[in-house]
Symmetry: C2
Subunit: 247 residues, 2 copies
DNA sequence: GGTATCGATATGTCTATACATATAATCGTG
DNA sequence: CACGATTATATGTATAGACATATCGATACC
């Protein structure tokens, strides 16, 4: 009673289970435009009949498609193909030490400067806080195979992260320490390009005026600022790569 | 370019069902580091006992976490916490026209050059294809409120996207046309920084040597290259912003 | 016309059970 | 010991049935 299902011919990788066949079949119809955005997908009981299976099985296929944001399910109304999504990229950025070691290169770290002070006006502006308080200001450099990889300029709000007072940033990079000790709930990246000034050029061993990629990252826990960091990478040697799926 | 970003929104007012509670509970333990990468999550039968439910219920929770790449499940061995993606941002990138108009600014578009030709060696390398075939090469400029916003340099594989031959890229930007006519399954971004050469400087009305942000985007449908595009933005006036949640 | 109620309906969650399948661990044999 | 065969086990898929829940539409009421 089950009717034949077109199999994806370009990859015969894993064994097709029924719910995966259903998922791929629907996915194909959506991606080819046969079922355009807004189209109502057949009801679960219709799909049960079409594929000759139990409702839980089609439900599993549809749930995965919903989790992948390809379709939208509404009680009583039915299941619908979602509006075309914008390109959506998952940018995965490990901390720098993990990133370099993951590449199989040796990681080097030099603390350039680390001071503890009462937040001045510039610090407060950068952290986006109003009250005065204590901060730690850190400048350091990361290198891969002894070649400068990035320089880091960081402020940590000591009132929000009091444990940071006990950390030794001469040994462990602040980014790594924070990731392992401080849970965060929100972050914001701002990526831009600058040309190297004399300080950056000297630290990165590049020419003044060379292009650099800049990541400004601000991290919060429940609306409370934890840290603000600026990372400067040589722009020609470094790339941020994001690979993703969409439809 | 203020590529806008928000992260998933639909977790807020969910009534806690059992499987969701289980999922959130495990998610929390992973994100707080209580269960670090490589840690073996309790077996399904242990979780059944802990939460007092059927195996299908914990299985559903674990399956969703596996689909989100937070955990890895191996038959006979168990379920393990994956190497965390420390920072992961969902960048939602509209095509440039939609982006500019969404900002309430007027969109302008100028086609600089458009030609159809047999792919030369450089084209094939850029598209990552072996066979010779026809391509469309396009250069154009996007502006917001009559200020240059970005320049675009694009190749379209005509064998993969034959419909592109009928499009009029003097009227509609190629990115917009593609987004509306060609479904894609995979894409890759590479973000880097360069300094403006004379051509970019002239087109963007900036100084030669000024920093620029570059996005190289490659798009596939089922392992078939569709298009490769390089977008160059003035680096000081535009930023890629990603805001997201995490743990 | 406007509004409150209520029933029908599609999805959402959960259970208990069954068998399939991949593979870590063990056992047996040369 | 080395190595192939066997077994135990955790996950993977599938089922039928039950009840929950959101909500569209119609009906009744003001």
């Amino acid at each position: 009673m089950s009717l034949s299902i077109d199999r994806d011919k370009r990859q015969a990788a894993d064994k097709p289970t029924l719910y995966k066949q259903i998922r791929l079949d629907i996915e194909r119809r959506i991606l080819t435009g046969e079922w355009p955005p807004g189209h109502r997908i057949p009801f679960e009981h219709e799909l049960m009949a079409r594929y000759g299976c139990a409702r839980m099985t089609v439900s599993k296929a549809l749930s995965e498609l919903a989790q992948a944001d390809l379709i939208e399910r509404r009680r009583r109304a039915g299941t619908f193909v979602r509006r075309p999504q914008f390109l959506s990229a998952v940018l995965q950025i490990a901390d720098i030490r993990a990133e370099i070691t993951a590449l199989g290169r040796s990681y080097g770290y030099q603390l350039i400067q680390c001071s503890r002070r009462a937040a001045n006006a510039a610090d407060r502006a950068r952290l986006g806080v109003r009250k005065t308080g204590k901060v730690i200001a850190i400048a350091c450099r990361h290198s891969a195979d002894d070649v400068p990889f990035a320089i880091e300029d960081r402020l940590i709000d000591l009132d929000a992260v009091p444990e940071a007072a006990t950390a030794d940033f001469a040994i462990e990079p602040p980014g790594t320490w924070l990731l392992h000790h401080v849970p965060w709930t929100e972050a914001e990246h701002s990526i831009s390009a600058i040309v190297a000034d004399d300080r950056a050029a000297a630290a990165l061993d590049i020419a003044i005026g060379a292009p650099c990629l800049v990541i400004d990252r601000h991290t919060w826990r429940s609306a409370r600022t934890l840290t603000a960091v600026r990372l400067i990478y040589p722009g020609e040697s470094h790339k941020l790569v994001a690979r993703f799926k969409g439809g």
